[in-house]
């Protein structure tokens, strides 16, 4: 039983990303969408460390169209995170037993 966790709020503004990561179990996936994608930049040191710490256990994704909308090139994304498009989002939903949204 694995879960896809989606996070849609900026980690600089709210604690929902850190709460999601704290509750994700090994084998789960975490996908950053909407304003949460601003946390996927490697240059933002503190949040990048939080994401990297979760990586061995969980796979981390970020939605490409939301990066583009905010002027964030995929080259700025933390190493080890995977950029997906909307079709990839659907694959993540269907590839896990359930989806949990951290609003």
């Amino acid at each position: 039983m694995s879960t896809l966790h989606t996070v849609n709020k900026s980690p600089f503004d709210r604690g929902s990303l850190e709460s999601a990561l704290a509750h994700a179990l090994p084998g789960d996936a975490v996908l950053l969408i909407e304003d949460a994608v601003v946390g996927a930049r490697s240059a933002a040191a503190r949040i990048a460390e939080v994401l990297k710490a979760a990586m061995p256990a969980c796979s981390l994704y970020v939605l490409g169209p939301d990066l583009s909308a905010r002027g964030i090139p995929t080259t700025d994304v933390i190493d080890g995170m995977t950029v997906v498009d909307y079709a990839g989002f659907v694959d993540l939903v269907t590839g896990h037993d359930k989806t949990q949204a951290w609003l």
């Binding site: 600089f12 909308a69 002027g71």
Partner: protein
């Protein structure tokens, strides 16, 4: 007695995920018609509103980012961006779009001033009206 008041628009949210950034910009443009002393402040996640090369086609929403570059034409010339907010997000002035206005010598000069948090507090304290987004 002058009817001119000092207005500061405070922007603290990332763009596109919520309507705040667009609504703020709309109100700034409307307010510009009233010939007040207008300043814009970008702090916390608001600094993301000014990032270069935003391309919103993929998420199907209007890209209002280019409108910031037209603010100079509306006599909005004072845009303050908080240095600590940039640094905490691993951003620098180079990540921000160029926003200019014409000075009295008809030269294009930058409207953006990077200020530290203490200076931002002074700017806020000096206003007559603060509108928060």
């Amino acid at each position: 007695m002058s009817d001119t008041k000092r207005f500061l628009y405070v922007n603290r949210k990332a763009p596109h995920g919520t309507i705040y950034a667009l609504e703020s910009l709309e109100v700034v443009l409307i307010g510009a018609a009233f010939e007040q002393d207008v300043s814009l402040a970008f702090l916390d996640d608001g600094v993301f509103q000014l990032i270069k090369k935003q391309a919103t086609t993929g998420i199907g929403v209007k890209n209002f980012a280019p409108v910031y570059r037209a603010l100079g034409d509306y006599d909005v010339k004072k845009i303050f961006v908080e240095r600590e907010s940039l640094e905490e997000r691993g951003l620098s002035e180079d990540d921000l779009m160029e926003i200019t206005h014409e000075n009295d010598d008809e030269e294009d000069v930058s409207s953006v001033e990077i200020v530290d948090r203490a200076r931002m507090a002074e700017i806020m304290a000096a206003q007559d009206v603060i509108l928060s987004f």
